[in-house]
Symmetry: C2
Subunit: 435 residues, 2 copies
Amino acid sequence: MTDAERKAKEAESAALELSNVSDGDKSEALESIADEKEAREDELLEPNPRDVEEAEEMLERGEYTQALVDRLKLDSAKVSGIADMVRGVAEQDDPVGETLAARELDEGLTLYKVSVPIGVVGSVFESRPDALPQIASLCLKSGNAAILKGGSEAEESNRVLFEAIREATAESDIPNGWVQLVESREDVETLLGMDEHVDLLMPRGSTAFVRHVQDNTKIPVLGHTEGVCHVYVDDDADLDKAERVAFDAKVDYPAACNAVETLLVNEDVADDFLARIVERYDEAGVEVRGDERTRETVSVKEATDDDWTTEYGDLTVAVRVVDSLDAAVDHVNTYGSKHTDSVVTEDDIKARRFMESIDSASVFHNASTRFSDGFRYGLGAEVGISTGKTHARGPVGVEGLTTYKWYIEGDGHVAGDYRGENAREFTHRDFDGEW
Amino acid sequence: MTDAERKAKEAESAALELSNVSDGDKSEALESIADEKEAREDELLEPNPRDVEEAEEMLERGEYTQALVDRLKLDSAKVSGIADMVRGVAEQDDPVGETLAARELDEGLTLYKVSVPIGVVGSVFESRPDALPQIASLCLKSGNAAILKGGSEAEESNRVLFEAIREATAESDIPNGWVQLVESREDVETLLGMDEHVDLLMPRGSTAFVRHVQDNTKIPVLGHTEGVCHVYVDDDADLDKAERVAFDAKVDYPAACNAVETLLVNEDVADDFLARIVERYDEAGVEVRGDERTRETVSVKEATDDDWTTEYGDLTVAVRVVDSLDAAVDHVNTYGSKHTDSVVTEDDIKARRFMESIDSASVFHNASTRFSDGFRYGLGAEVGISTGKTHARGPVGVEGLTTYKWYIEGDGHVAGDYRGENAREFTHRDFDGEW
């Protein structure tokens, strides 16, 4: 048995126990984790300079970006932030044990649908030091065992962050083995084949990596590859709002998956709006690539068909002039990645048509695509954003880490009594009841 | 482009339109389907004798069972039954457009979570003539386009059933192309590769086939392979109830996936209970296979380890004597298939421990495993039973054919305002509101 196999089996066996641990015990364990993070601050900070130094060497070789180096850095304020985040997760409502439906099937025969943890969740994530404690905390709160694999650039930092979590819960009522760390690519490949033991995979990071996971496992995968998000400026838009939204959606944090990549502009406002937004973009250093009709209005680089499907992840934006709202909808449904799209218009009826016609996880009206985020949605925190259409869609918080079970309470009831002559009939009467 | 590719793309484009068709229009179309089934009764019945004749030849060659031949038969009463079923689906509550959450994020910035159809659903099902209209109706009610592939034994019957559905909706407000029939195995293989166009697959039928689908697609799969269900008779069981439940769970319909395959009996009641149930089973022609301790009490065939993981699908049952409720839980979690399991006991606390410790979609107390079914659960009808732990679990009705979208209504709100000095704060206040 390889190391990864042993860890997955330990997690599976811990998950069965963890599914019945009370919310009080889980929250207490989360408080211990937060305390431990603060108490061990020196220990947590110690290896980080080595990770950062290595990343800076990669940066010099052009294998890394400054933004990624910045994200990798850990300091005293970030450790406090992590402790606060873990306490915030502890304080959330218990997502497990909720009665989702209660139905009398017949006299003395009652059906309950009750939320439960999924089981074993595998997460492979990028090298941000707060990712590991965030994912581990959300899994624990929702009663799931977690198998974690961080970016290799943050290996040393992740190891101490992980040990602090493991040791903080070792003496609590949480079953040992609930959290596991794997470190090699081979371990990840092993996990992909363990569909008997791992219930859900949440890969984060590069498009190529997420696609690799999707292509090589039978385990359900929650995540997203591209984030090709759109802002459509309608002919009935308030152009001040349009400028605010289009600017923020690109410039606020261009590396984020919810940043806008393509701006669609109605032909009737193209002259006015493009002049304004291109000036703003220019000042912020945004490279604009326009289709033919855009370039009739403003002097920008040429966009090709490839631009419509590209997630730049930096200060670049593609612009297309469209005839109508329906043409914008067609563009988004054809080239988009079902992530987040926004319409700017003062016409509420057209806004609704846009929102209901776009097949994306999140669709906004007069708001920046950047709001597409678990914290901003009030989900407490997020384990990731899903562009799939089953299980959980958009930002995924603790609720997305739960499933449900069906319970029936009977008194010797058998199915044969509901058939043939003198068959009993089902009552199917919903009632307010708790499992 | 192959025929299957063209059909999948037609379905995808119909699905975008269908997602915004009103419940009234969908229900009206379903009524037309029901009327059409009745009006075309002669046409629907015409090809069936040929399908049945072919199946009877297969039966003679030992390639088919009598039960399957019986299921294949279509008569006037079954056509009426199909029309009633379709009307029943029409009358169900609209599963789409429901506001699942409404939350103020800030003044003038509001988040809605709203149920929507999944999109394109592919279903491959066994040769029961009511399967095709049932799956098509549930997809239409939930606003999904359907790609259907029936058992080749029912090919002629399925074709007329399909044409009646397609033509009944051709002149309604339902977009053409919403329902597609594919007939060859090659078409199924093509569909498995179309993860860009098909959102969910629901295979029904043999374990080998369902596993083949799971192994060869990136599309999310809802379904089950084995149905290895258990009944545990506790030392605190009422043995009359235990006898009723254990008998019904095996004999009521042995070919069903929710029939019991392994009976677990607490050692303290083994002598009493096994004598009774084996006598009942003998009378009904059930072959009993027991472990060593079972055979110390009753004279039955020997069970091997293979029996614990076998879905017999016929009048065979494995029996094991266990030391305790916890040993029964271990057995079920080790050998079961996460489908349906039942405990018989008069001790409610022990019952709850069993139910909450078993990692299966459905867990019952003093009730036959045979209740695990969409109709019996009051879901109207079912598209299948899922033993997976994500998206939908257990019997899947129209609700399992929906997902959700996130909408934000703003007024020019941007994310940059919620950061840095003078940052605005989110209010995150849930309210009773409808999208």
